[in-house]
């Protein structure tokens, strides 16, 4: 009433009010849209950042060498068995290293600085172990020349992918070099001078003029050799051979500046030179690297895979399902179909609802105190992990199954009762089949949740190094999400893409489970 009189008296302020109300409507609405947009973009950001990071882990730079593992070089392989794996490994290492030495002409290069041309490590010693496995499985390969692949060490791989350092490359055509015959300096066979007609690029000069500690490394590369550029004097670059043999300058030369100073990166100048030369020669190739799927955990990122963790996850999931599903479904049936209205029932319901909101880590404490210390279950084993996750999943399964059971129309119950069915027959023969799709969905949802759980498993010791695929529920094991956590704490940069790749695998599995779930649902509802 008051409003109406006010409106009549002062139409202008009324218009103002309307405008204000519309403005506030628009404001509220856009705030709500922003909220939804924020959530969606966060989801997109998470998936995007993990996916782009993971791509790097699916390919790896590998040394492709042809080897002739003869019986005498791998003496200890005997009728399909590796008798002495250490000896085999060192023999294979020597074979691969010799091959690389030949490609890089390491022995023809004379040591010119105080550190000498120590063999730069390009791969981890155990990186050749898969060759031993292949030969053990196919003994007829002994004595044959075949090409084998050895993944290079993870830091070098990151370098080649451009992740480890800042660098620039300039190409200088053959004609741009003033003096086609490089002038051998008189005092040493490994030091050269070269002058470039069009002038050395300005950034290279800048790099060379910096003081020693912060000085970027400058390389001059040809098709067959890599030099380090030490200085720029009298219009000449003075060079030192790092790797390879100088044949000619066909195809021109490249000047490479690695801006990150040697002290601040994990790889040496020597390694950079050798890796670049091998890459140019096509000995090192980037290729799909299946180790992520086929190998167990390793201390070397280039050799680590998720296989053992996948098997561990599966074992844990089996134990969880074996315990949580029957108990959860039976509990739900009792609560929905049999429970009398009593204090006891209410107490059980409250404790189930409360249990659903107890932090997962508390279940880990329960597992550590009761399962490990009282019942003496083995530490780090899928039995203990599966039981803990079963406790954790039980409330979810019960709540979901109850929802499915209570959604069954009462007519079904009444009809069955009127035909003389007992309560048990009504529940088991009529209500449960009708509720099956919902129950199955709930069960799978609960199990999928438990698949991603980490915190309780940490407390029962499942964050350990598992170098072999576990072969039972009492064996030491780890699960995929725990492996993700473990890898994410790795000090080396190379663990980062690997962690992302493991996450992608985990998420893919979850998507698959969800698809399967909707398939089951559709099938049952038809």
């Amino acid at each position: 009433m008051v409003d109406q009189t006010a409106r009549k008296k002062n139409p202008r302020s009324n218009g103002d009010r309307l405008r204000r109300r519309r403005l506030s409507e628009r404001f509220f609405r856009s705030a709500a849209i922003c909220a939804v947009g924020l959530v969606m973009s966060m989801l997109a950001l998470i998936i995007y950042s993990v996916a782009t990071l993971s791509i790097r882990a699916f390919t790896h730079n590998q040394i492709v060498v042809s080897l002739t593992p003869a019986l005498d070089s791998i003496l200890s392989i005997d009728r399909g068995n590796v008798a002495d794996s250490a000896k085999t490994l060192s023999a294979l290492n020597k074979l691969v290293a010799d091959e690389i030495d030949r490609e890089l002409a390491r022995d023809t290069i004379i040591a010119s600085d105080e550190t000498g041309f120590a063999r730069a490590r390009l791969f981890a010693p155990v990186a050749v172990s898969h060759i031993a496995e292949v030969i053990t499985k196919n003994p007829n390969r002994l004595g044959q020349t075949r090409s084998y692949r050895v993944p290079i060490s993870s830091n070098l791989d990151l370098y080649l992918k451009g992740q480890l350092t800042d660098q620039n490359i300039w190409r200088i055509a053959e004609t741009g070099i003033a003096d086609h015959n490089m002038i051998l300096s008189s005092d040493s066979a490994s030091e050269f001078k070269i002058s470039i007609a069009q002038g050395v690029p300005e950034p290279v000069l800048r790099a060379l003029s910096q003081s020693n500690e912060t000085r970027p490394s400058v390389f001059l590369e040809t098709q067959s050799a890599v030099f380090k550029v030490d200085a720029y004097r009298d219009d000449h670059l003075s060079l030192r051979v790092m790797a390879g043999e100088l044949a000619d300058l066909k195809g021109g030369v490249w000047l490479r500046v690695v801006w990150t100073p040697a002290a601040q990166r994990a790889i040496s100048d020597q390694q950079i030179a050798e890796v670049n030369l091998l890459k140019r020669k096509g000995i090192i190739r980037s290729a799909f690297h299946p180790r992520l799927w086929t190998s167990a955990d390793s201390t070397f990122p280039e050799l680590a895979g998720v296989l053992s963790a996948l098997v561990g996850s599966l074992l844990v999931l089996l134990v969880t399902a074996f315990v949580a599903v029957p108990i959860g479904v039976m509990a739900a049936i009792w609560l929905e179909e049999f429970a009398p209205r009593s204090r006891l029932t209410e107490f059980i319901e409250i404790s189930i609802n409360n249990l659903a909101a107890v932090p997962p880590i508390v279940f880990g404490l329960l597992g550590a105190a009761v399962l490990l210390n009282v019942f003496g279950l083995p530490r780090s084993a899928p039995v203990a992990g599966g039981l803990v996750l079963a406790f954790l999943t039980l409330p979810t399964v019960i709540i979901a199954s109850r929802a499915a059971l209570s959604a069954v129309p009462n007519d079904i119950r009444i009809a069955a009762f009127s035909l003389g069915a007992s309560r048990m027959q009504v529940a088991m023969d009529h209500v449960l089949p009708a509720a099956a799709p919902g129950v199955i969905t709930g069960v799978i949802l609960g199990l999928a949740r438990s698949l991603g759980e980490v915190a309780p498993l940490l407390l029962i010791g499942m964050v350990i190094f598992v170098g072999e695929v576990p072969d039972g529920i009492n064996d030491e094991a780890t699960t995929l999400p725990v492996l993700i956590y473990k890898w994410s704490t790795g000090a080396e940069r190379a663990w980062e893409p690997l962690t992302a790749a493991a996450i992608v695998i985990l998420l893919l599995i979850m998507v698959l489970i969800n698809l399967f779930m909707s398939y089951v649902r559709q099938r049952f509802e038809r």
């Binding site: 609405r29 939804v36 950042s49 107890v358 329960l366 949740r449 980490v454 010791g461 994410s488 996450i503």
Partner: protein, 460 residues
Amino acid sequence: MPFAWFAFAFLAAGGMWAYTAGRVRALSLKFDGRGSLHSSPNFHAAFVMLATLFPMILSLALVALLDGPVPQYFLIAELPDRIARLPLAQLNQYVDQLASSAKQPDVRLPDTFDNAARRRLLVLMGEFRLTGGLCTLVAGATGFTLARNFQTVNAPIRLYVERIIRVLFFISAATAVFITLGIVVSLAIEGGRFFSLVNPFDFVFGTTWNAQTSQDFGALPLFFGTIAIALIAMVVAAPIGVLSAVYLAEYAPRRLRNFAKPALEVLAGIPTVVYGFFAIILVAPIIRSIARAINDLSWVPDGFLAAQPNSALAAGVVMGIMIVPFVSSLTDDALRAVPAELRDGALSLGSTKSEMIRHILLPAARPGIIAALLLGVSRAFGETMIVVMAAGQRAQITPDMTSDITTVTAQIVTLLVGDSAFDSSKTLSAFALGGVLFLVTLVLNLFAIRVVRRYGLSNG
């Protein structure tokens, strides 16, 4: 554990045999012509199977439980006086060592007598298991015979079976109570042991936490860290969660809703390690560089913000994103529970949509929304992986949220990873922390559950 597989096979074989036997007997009764059966042959079969399996399972459980103590008891009785007369604690320790070394019988012990004793222990264990197996067999046979005696034409076997299954159902439902009880008892016992070593007052009000190296158990910095990070998370999650629920329930066109709801579910289904990794690789560096930019401003004193690589802010923000779908779906339930009449009434009186939402819908759904926020806080308190990965390890009380900070859950993990013996105050303190966490979340949960139940909303 081949023993377990053996027991399992034993049970399966016994059960199958009993089932078949029960069924055969019922069928023979049926075709004997002495009247029709009260219960169908399937119930007879199930009855005999249950009657056979139950004593067997009981017996096997007893054997598994007494597998350690009984052979050791007999061994002690046989030991010579020089060992048997030792004080009880030393004697137990000696036997425990023998028992654990018996798991690898190929490894020889340095002492010849110990070797002999271990051999004897292994023999005793074998005998015990054999006896146990025989007892199980006898128990199964007894149950089987008794059940067969019950099998007559008129016996109400179906009622017996239904009663047994009903009891099983009840026990399953009561499992949740047992688990809760297990949590309470284990936390109380281990926490009690901790508080017998450390003054509870010092624990709650002490301001230095240094459990790893020294014996400082002042948990106040941990409580501070937990609350601070939960607060940041809720500052992010509450407005976004509630507003997005409002938008999806009231404004969004159908197509957007059909897309956005599953997306929220996906967000809710992402494991927390993934959020933790996201915090490490993206959020923490961004927050650090922002903090550094603020530090570089001319009017800000040098080193005003800590700008650590791990920060409370990074963990809190990411945790907030994690909680959004949770808050949003519970809020959605609460909004749905508001009667349509209220909504229509407000609109028909001329209020705009946002006025209707703010003055009618949200107040009517307030209890549900509060419950959603409480459950959100409870989750934030208990969330572990994000803080373990992104919040840091330093126990400190600081208003600067760009510095690293630690929480109750993160400390529990650091204290217990790689430790299995619960005899030091260091590991026991994890249980005290867990007890506090359990109590706080319990109160929040019970309160929220009560609100949810009173207003007839669906379960959280």
